[in-house]
């Protein structure tokens, strides 16, 4: 007996160090997993910010523009139609030729013109139309948008030793260097990125159209999913009898919450586009599809909020003679509102980041115009990111990352708002 007891304690002592080591290892694995997750998060954010921060600056070139009547092709300055169609590109080209007078062959000229963006003429037109009388015949210095190749070249040039030349020839780089030496080139805040719609030219592409599309889509989603979700939650929590039908509704809600989002896209395509013949690419259809997708989220969180209102409140209301509808609308709903709003915001955040179902209903079209209503063709921010990430130009990579930063900023704001609402307004009983 005595011997065997000694044996056991020996055994325990012998193994103790090993067991403690195992314990430490196990803890270490846990720490490792958490660090891995957090490192991935850090890596993702630094990668995207590192790629995208430069897109908020855009290269501009200062040119001495001479508003020559002949080059512009204007003979009557009071005719707005003439001001619209005047040859502004010609003026820019002339300014370029004047500066680099040694350029003579057609090919070289074309290479020179390529340094300035195609959209610079529109800027010039806008400036000129403001006061044509004063500017006609005058020479002024204007900062014009440079082509994306110049932009990428200069950004990588200042970043590291080896510059990314892209499509720029040695000759073109020489001209750019001349500008740099003359301090005619400057990086300014990229306003175009926030004020214009999509474009094939990276330097003219912006996210305004996508943001407006997202706003319209989200507005439709909110207007539909919040009232319907709250109504469904009220029914299920306050009215629904315990029967097969109610069970069926609950099972369906729980299942829909886990159905892949692309399936909702198939539903939208088959029902709304194919059967009801609604137009493609409009925020209205996108909003309806996203409503069906976010409805389970809204219903589940609204039910939780209604459930958290204590029964004593209901009984007190019924006790002083309120009807069931009065009890719900006057007492339960106001008390549950913060929780419902939190759920709605989280559902909206989910809808804002969703891409796949919108691809199905045709919101991937190339749309330049900024949508002005829920039935204008539009695209949304995540889809814009998807479209740009497919573009071969290097300048689109930084714009894609910048668009991602904007999208993430929106999501962070929405989620912070949800957390703040929950902390601030939610009452605990």
């Amino acid at each position: 007996m005595n011997k065997s007891a000694e044996k056991t304690i020996d055994l325990v002592n012998r193994n103790l160090a090993k067991r403690y080591r195992a314990e430490k290892r196990f803890r270490f694995y846990g720490l490792l997993s958490i660090s891995f997750g957090l490192l991935c998060l850090l890596f993702l954010f630094t990668d995207i910010i590192g790629k995208g921060h430069s897109a908020f600056l855009q290269t501009y070139v200062a040119l001495d523009i001479h508003f020559d009547e002949e080059v512009l092709g204007i003979d009557n300055i009071d005719d707005p139609a003439q001001l619209m169609v005047a040859n502004y590109d010609g003026v820019i080209r002339k300014a370029l030729r004047d500066q680099f007078s040694e350029v003579s062959s057609r090919r070289d000229k074309r290479a020179l013109y390529a340094l300035i963006s195609n959209g610079a003429g529109f800027d010039l037109q806008r400036e000129f139309s403001l006061n044509p009388r004063e500017l006609l015949g005058q020479t002024r210095t204007f900062w014009l948008v440079a082509d994306d190749d110049v932009d990428t070249y200069l950004k990588s040039y200042r970043g590291s030793g080896e510059a990314f030349t892209g499509r720029l020839s040695e000759q073109q780089r020489g001209w750019v260097q001349t500008w740099v030496a003359e301090e005619r080139i400057e990086k300014r805040f990229n306003r175009i990125f926030f004020t214009s719609g999509d474009s094939r030219e990276p330097e003219l592409a912006g996210i305004r159209g996508a943001i407006m599309g997202s706003l319209f889509t989200l507005a439709v989603t909110l207007v539909l999913s919040f009232p319907i979700g709250v109504a469904a939650a009220i029914y299920l929590e306050e009215y629904a009898p315990k029967n097969k039908w109610t069970d069926l509704i609950e099972v369906n809600i729980n299942n829909l919450a886990a159905v892949p989002s692309i399936i909702f896209g198939l539903l939208g395509l088959a029902i709304f586009i194919n059967f009801f013949e609604m137009p493609r690419s409009i925020p209205l259809v996108g909003g309806i599809v996203l409503t069906l997708m976010t409805l389970p989220t809204v219903i589940i969180s609204s039910r939780a909020a209604i459930k958290s209102v204590p029964p004593s409140i209901r009984e007190a209301a019924l006790g002083i003679g309120a009807s069931k509808m009065q009890m719900i609308l006057h007492h339960v709903l106001p008390l549950a509102m913060p929780g419902m709003l939190t759920g709605a915001i989280i559902g909206m955040a989910q809808a804002l980041g969703e891409t796949a179902p919108l691809l199905m209903i045709g919101m991937v079209a190339f749309i330049v115009d900024i949508p002005g209503a829920v039935n204008d063709p539009a695209t949304v921010l995540p889809v814009q990111i998807f479209l740009w990430s497919d573009s071969p130009e290097r300048a689109f990579v930084e714009r894609t990352s910048a668009a991602i930063m904007v999208l993430l900023a929106f999501l962070i704001i929405m989620n912070t708002l949800a957390v703040w609402l929950r902390k601030r307004l939610e009452r605990r009983w």
């Binding site: 997993s33 469904a232 009215y239 692309i262 539903l267 998807f386």
Partner: protein, 461 residues
């Protein structure tokens, strides 16, 4: 008058009905001795009148909008000359299409006077329909509103009736979930059945060759198209398996550390940060996978002398795994914290270390819940779209090598359906068949997972 103004006018009419109905109940109450003599509050009389006015108008509007296209089309066909009317379905459809075009203002190239006349007729029919709609809806609303107004009596149980309508509206809202499920099943099923009429079901499920390109001319190379979905299933499984290999150990260990070891301060700081990973849109992960992770893996593979595809399954799987980590960890966290403290205390009392307790007591007790969570995560991975669309390939390779490019079910659905397409070619319809497979598989996984989790919960409650 377009539909939205009509809706606005109807709403205004209903609001007016509310005011008038409420006023009538008040004036009736004044005659018989104050509000207390009314059966319900004046608000309910107003509401009831508004409902009498608004609901029939809305119903008429919806019915009209559903049926007017069909009626207009029937009238249009009626107006066409007999030889055109007797054409077969598709040719008649083409004719009607050109009539639509004429009505929409681009009659270029169409000279047939019958068709031009039909276009004119369509324009006028549409205008008349809009006008008639406005008249019918507004007069209907007015008529029923007056009827409701005339019915107001002090004895009328207005509150009861309004609440009954309220309850019905709530019930209808909660039935939308069922309607949605039904819509998904029907839309996917019908298109799939049409697909299976051209491609046999077993060829689709067990076929080893996937190349959905249908030739326009029959003599083209690869004219028939092959619809064997096994490479897609294999690719989906491969990528999901890689994702699970990343997400399950990491998520589980993170959940164990957070719930068993970490203090409340670390827990409250780290948990939300991990959950940020779940809130990042999938398109961002896709961009990250395609532009950062995939080139990184390819370059590292080249250093090691491996030939890695630039659209390797590994990149998509890894990034998808990272996305799913918080999903696994929060689900496991819930079930681990649900394990009663008494089990742990018993194990500690026998002299077990903390890790031994976790491995031999807590995890086995929580296993059903963890399995349920993992199943949900698998269904997440199978249905995930954007990461694979952006980072995985299009070529349907049947391979188990994670360094090669594979394609998945969701990638094929997206590539087949993005852009304009006809709804009668097997190529488009095959996407719905894939969607049906996806829906059935994820539904089964969710059902099993929820079942397992629920059964487990009952054990400790």
């Amino acid at each position: 008058m377009d539909t939205s103004t009509l809706l606005a006018i109807t709403a205004a009419l209903a609001a007016l009905a509310y005011v008038i109905g409420r006023g009538r109940s008040l004036s009736q109450a004044a005659d018989i001795g104050g509000i207390r003599k009314l059966n319900s509050l004046p608000f309910y009389y107003g509401m009831l009148t508004a409902l009498w006015c608004g609901l029939p108008a809305l119903l008429l509007l919806v019915l009209w909008l559903i049926f007017d296209e069909a009626i207009i089309q029937a009238l249009l066909i009626e107006s066409l000359p007999a030889d055109m009317r007797d054409l077969g379905g598709s040719e008649l459809g083409l004719l009607l299409n050109s009539v639509q075009n004429i009505a929409n203002g681009n009659s270029a190239g169409i000279t047939n006077p019958d068709l031009l006349a039909a276009g004119q007729l369509l324009v006028s029919l549409r205008e008349n329909s809009q006008r008639a709609l406005a008249v019918v809806v507004l007069s209907g609303g007015l008529l029923f509103g007056v009827f409701g107004w005339a019915r107001i009596r002090p004895q009328q149980k207005a509150r009861f009736q309004v609440e009954a309508v309220f309850k019905i509206v709530l019930l209808l809202c909660s039935c939308i979930a069922i309607v949605t499920t039904l819509g998904i099943v029907l839309s996917v099923l019908f298109e799939s059945l049409r697909f299976f009429q051209t491609v046999p079901f077993f060829d689709f499920v067990f076929g080893l060759d996937w190349s959905p390109q249908m030739a326009i001319r029959s003599d083209q190379v690869g004219g028939s198209g092959a619809f064997g979905a096994v490479p897609l299933f294999a690719g989906t499984l491969l990528i999901s398996a890689i994702a699970m290999l990343v997400a399950v150990p990491t998520g589980l260990m993170a959940a164990i550390y957070l719930s068993e070891y970490a203090g409340s301060r670390i827990r409250s700081a780290v948990k939300p940060m991990l959950e940020v990973l779940a809130g990042i849109p999938t398109v961002v992960y896709g961009f990250f996978a395609a532009l950062t992770v995939a080139p990184m893996i390819r370059d590292n593979g080249a250093v090691l002398g491996l030939d890695v595809s630039s659209e390797s399954a590994l990149a998509a799987g890894l990034v998808m795994g990272v996305m799913i980590i918080p999903f696994v960890s929060s689900l496991s966290d819930d079930v681990i914290t649900a394990v009663p403290q008494s089990l742990r205390d018993g194990s500690f009392g026998l002299g077990a270390t903390q890790s031994e307790t976790i491995r031999q007591v807590v995890i086995p007790a929580a296993l059903p819940g963890i399995v349920g969570g993992v199943l949900l995560a698998v269904s997440r991975a199978i249905g995930e779209t954007m990461i694979v669309v952006m980072a995985a390939g299009l070529a349907a390779n049947l391979t188990a090598n994670p360094l090669e490019s594979v394609t998945t079910v969701t990638v094929q659905i997206v590539t087949l359906l993005v852009g304009d397409q006809e709804f009668d070619s097997p190529k488009t319809l095959s996407a719905f068949a894939l969607g049906l497979m996806l829906f059935v598989v994820t539904l089964a996984l969710n059902y099993i997972a929820l079942h397992v989790v629920r059964k487990y919960r009952e054990q400790y409650e």
